[in-house]
């Protein structure tokens, strides 16, 4: 077994002189093809975790050479050639975008949207036109524009933006290939599965590779921001970058890639190979086991070992998320951000539009509870037609229930829509940004008015629909004794509660650590609210980010919190944690 120190030494050794960089360690006598080779080890940054064992395959870039520019250059003709090449490039990029969407995912496919935009960028086009006007042929103009813009990006000294120089290169290579008469870059025609070794890969090269054959990526250069890294993470393939140059003679050799430890071992010893295989199997089995055991929890009541039931609800912002929430076993919706319709339209939605949207979600949840939060907008979440004044301090401004109480018709339209939707399942209504019992009483009066109107109109609704508030101001938590007399439930919005309690703007990156370290005052306020509402026979849930913090699940169970509402991707992990709680 090797130690990290040895590997670091070897790393320097290989960087100094990779050509002779074969280390005399264990001989490998088992495989015919590696008989003559010695073990070699490399170190780099693991940018996508995991382990892989397979043969190394070196990626060879097709060389693109600009045509010799000895022929006479006619600017008008060169401009036409360039424009046609750009048109073809646009089509190719659109095709790559479609492929990436299908093979990898939406976020990663965006890389090609960026390519399309760069290609159409007026500054880029201007540079190209200037180069041609200066008497260069189309090929040289492309090279010239690449120089200008890659240099600009590199000089920004920002690791992420510097890595974008590779995008400019990718687009340029594409244009040069098209100008040279090649149609589309050829996908690497390799057979079998392998660990791919390359100097670096452009996004197009990465997308065109047959992903099912790639066990891992190793690149000489690159950073955690390079495309290879981003794509490897998206595909869940182990990747190691910045290993320095690797001798091409090692092509086809057996290697062990351990991206977790940041090592690549070529021609490993037999014992090493066996240990690696076992570790890999253990890890795979663990990952499968975790996913399986979490999936098995779906439908199981989330009760702690001590017998306390905590429902696991989902936070959603639109109807489309309902299916995902149900698939991951949500017991209900703990927070439906009802703003979505207001945000997507250009004018106030009608009661009918709101009712239809809420009814759909309530009935899709098949009798499971859906807590609908009334409008939570304000100067920080602007909607043009609301015509709200600009505020210096929007988080402490005219927002949420403050607007609703000042504009009663707006509020009542929404309350009526929610009431009507309640006839189609199990809905509850929740008011945000409350600071006093008086505010709650005013909301309740309007709520009761709506009910009376609906009864007169002969419109159906659930007369026992629960009415609750968000506890997201320190005032609401401090006054929870009085407020709990007016409501059926509390739901704690920990994001706002934390920022108001700590007087720390959550958007301010300089205060992130302060917020991270001071959860205790927030927890004590929650504890106070929990005691108050339980004293009245009501229930309390948590729908802010803290609900998904697995370090706090036990504390929440101890307080007797009845429900945790988290984003869909966190549902299974939180359920698992609740079942582990004492």
């Amino acid at each position: 077994m090797k130690h990290a120190g040895d590997l670091t030494q070897e790393f320097h050794f290989y960087n100094q002189d990779f050509a002779d960089g074969i280390n005399f360690r264990e001989r490998h006598g088992e495989h015919m093809d590696v008989m003559s080779k010695q073990r070699a080890a490399f170190r780099g940054a693991g940018v996508s975790g995991g382990k892989a064992c397979g043969t190394l395959k070196f990626f060879r870039k097709p060389t693109v050479r600009p045509a010799p520019s000895s022929r006479p250059v006619h600017p008008a003709a060169e401009l036409t050639r360039l424009r046609q090449a750009m048109e073809t490039a646009r089509e190719q990029i659109a095709e790559l975008h479609r492929r990436a969407l299908a093979d990898i995912g939406k976020n990663e496919a965006e890389i090609f949207e960026i390519h399309a935009m760069l290609l159409e960028d007026e500054d880029f086009a201007e540079t190209l036109t200037n180069e041609i006007a200066a008497g260069k042929c189309a090929e040289d103009a492309v090279e010239g524009a690449v120089q200008v813009w890659s240099r600009m990006l590199r000089e920004l000294n920002d690791p992420y933006l510097s890595a974008r120089a590779a995008d400019i290169r990718d687009i340029a290579d594409r244009l040069l290939r098209i100008l040279a008469g090649e149609t589309q870059e050829s996908a690497a025609a390799y057979t079998g599965s392998f660990i791919l070794v390359a100097e670096d890969l452009t996004p197009s090269e990465t997308v065109l590779l047959d992903k099912s054959r790639i066990l891992g990526f190793v690149t000489f250069g690159g950073s955690s921001n390079s495309h290879t890294s981003i794509l490897a993470r998206a595909m869940g393939i182990p990747a190691l970058v910045g290993v320095g140059k690797i001798d091409e003679e090692l092509d086809s050799q057996l290697a062990l890639l351990d991206a977790d430890a940041g090592t690549l071992t070529v021609c490993p010893g037999e014992a090493e190979l066996e240990a690696f295989r076992q570790a890999q199997e253990r890890q795979d089995a663990q990952a499968r086991e975790q996913e399986k055991s979490r999936r098995a929890l779906i439908g199981r009541p989330s009760v702690t070992l001590g017998g306390h039931r905590m429902l696991i609800y989902a936070n959603i912002g639109e109807g489309a998320e309902v299916a995902h929430a149900l698939a991951d076993g949500a017991d209900g919706i703990g927070l439906l951000r009802s703003e979505f319709l207001y945000l997507s339209l250009n004018d106030y939605p009608s009661e009918e539009q709101l009712f239809e949207a809420y009814r759909q979600i309530v009935s899709d949840m098949q009798g499971k509870k859906v807590v609908i939060r009334t409008l939570d907008i304000g100067a920080d979440k602007q909607i043009p037609y609301f015509d709200l004044p600009h505020e210096e301090n929007p988080a402490l401004g005219f927002r949420a229930v403050r607007i609703c109480l000042a504009r009663e018709p707006l509020f009542k339209t929404q309350l009526r829509a929610i009431l009507r939707a309640s006839a189609f399942g199990n809905a509850a209504v929740m008011i945000p940004m409350i600071v006093s019992a008086e505010e709650v009483r005013r909301c309740r009066r309007l709520f009761d008015e709506c009910k009376a109107e609906l009864i007169c109109e002969g419109v159906d609704f659930d007369a026992r629909m629960e009415f609750g508030i968000m506890v997201e101001t320190p005032a609401a938590a401090v006054m929870s004794d009085e407020i709990s007399a007016e409501v059926d439930f509390f739901s704690v919005g920990t994001n706002d509660l934390a920022q108001y309690t700590l007087a720390a703007d959550r958007q301010n990156p300089m205060l992130a650590e302060l917020c991270e370290r001071n959860t205790e005052p927030v927890l004590r306020l929650i504890e106070r609210a929990a005691k108050a509402i339980h004293g009245r026979g009501g229930w309390i849930g948590i729908c802010g980010e803290l609900a998904a913090d697995l370090r706090l699940t036990q504390r929440f169970a101890d307080m007797g919190i009845d429900e945790l509402s988290v984003s869909v991707p966190n549902l299974l992990a939180v359920r698992e944690q609740v079942l582990r709680c004492k």
Binding site: D158, R164, P509
Partner: protein
């Protein structure tokens, strides 16, 4: 003329994706959109120009919007910043 300032909270700063999206949004308006940061000024409708600001996390983006639909452009772009550059998922 409308102006506002936004402090980037996103770990990656204004990288290619948000810059691309921002340019797409800005292009929907007839108003001129200029964005300044780090003492540099960029055309809000051009991707490379926006990227060349090199605006990292913590940088203050100053938007100046001038034109007939400046009011709406200002609101849309401000909302864009909050949704794409605040650094919270």
């Amino acid at each position: 003329m409308k102006q506002f300032t936004y402090l980037i909270g996103d770990e990656n700063g204004m990288h290619a994706r948000p810059a691309g999206k921002l340019a797409t949004y800005a292009k929907r308006f007839v108003s001129d959109v200029s964005v300044s940061a780090n003492g540099k000024k960029a055309d809000g409708k051009r991707l490379l120009s926006l990227m060349s600001l090199g605006a990292a996390k913590g940088a203050a983006l100053e938007f100046t919007i001038t034109g007939e639909d400046e009011e709406q452009a200002c609101q849309t772009l401000r909302q864009f910043c909050e949704e794409n550059l605040c650094g919270e998922e």
